[in-house]
């Protein structure tokens, strides 16, 4: 199985919206992922697509542009769009034990998706990142932090090396 990476909506929006604070960092990270595209799978939970579409529309981006941009993400060969069965809600309930209850449902779903795929999780949500670390899930990366981005890429290369 190829190493998997889960992206959150902030990452996608940061790539698409040049006014985002972390736009430049997002495009550099995207480039690193494209460089490795034949050896990885990028997982985008459907909730992330919903969030991305809604946030971009709320910012005044035309529906046509939002659709075209998101389709471009969906069509990439390394992208896997996944949805959740209802039973996932019960499994997610397990993660709530000892976890900061301020985590948004959408972030919990992103975390859940990453755990299910044993994926590296790129998140911009520090609460989720801390909760995953607290639950001994080490493959979570707060991608706004430079050191975390570098650690993420180093670990990704190691996972690729082991998978080949």
């Amino acid at each position: 199985m190829k190493p998997c990476v889960v992206e959150d909506s902030n990452f996608i929006i940061s790539v698409i919206d040049p006014d985002e604070s972390f736009h430049f960092q997002a495009i550099l990270l995207l480039n690193e992922l494209i460089t490795r595209k034949n050896n990885i799978k990028i997982i985008i939970p459907s909730i992330v697509f919903f969030e991305s579409v809604i946030k971009l529309l709320q910012r005044g981006v035309s529906p046509k542009k939002v659709e075209n941009s998101l389709w471009d993400f969906l069509y990439r060969s390394e992208i896997l769009n996944v949805t959740f069965p209802e039973t996932a809600a019960f499994r997610i309930g397990k993660y709530l034990q000892g976890v900061n209850l301020e985590i948004k449902t959408s972030d919990l779903l992103v975390g859940h998706c990453g755990i299910e795929y044993e994926a590296q999780i790129l998140t911009s949500d520090k609460t989720l990142w801390r909760a995953l670390k607290k639950n001994n899930y080490q493959k979570a990366y707060y991608w706004h932090d430079r050191q975390q981005r570098n650690d993420f890429l180093k670990e990704l290369d190691e996972l690729i090396r082991r998978s080949i």
Partner: protein, 50 residues
């Protein structure tokens, strides 16, 4: 951010400019970004605050 990892030397890269900064990226990345990144003409109305 200047210390972020950039593509390995043997990869052919091109320049991509955004917000006054320049990144060295793969041609494929540049092509993708040129398609997906929002341009002023893509805004229906004045951008709302985030």
């Amino acid at each position: 951010m200047e210390n972020d990892k950039e593509p390995k030397k043997e990869e052919k890269t091109v320049r991509y400019k955004t917000n006054g900064k320049e990144a060295k990226v793969l041609p494929e990345t540049k092509e993708f970004l040129e398609r997906v990144v929002i341009k002023p003409k893509d805004l229906e109305k004045e951008k709302k605050s985030k």
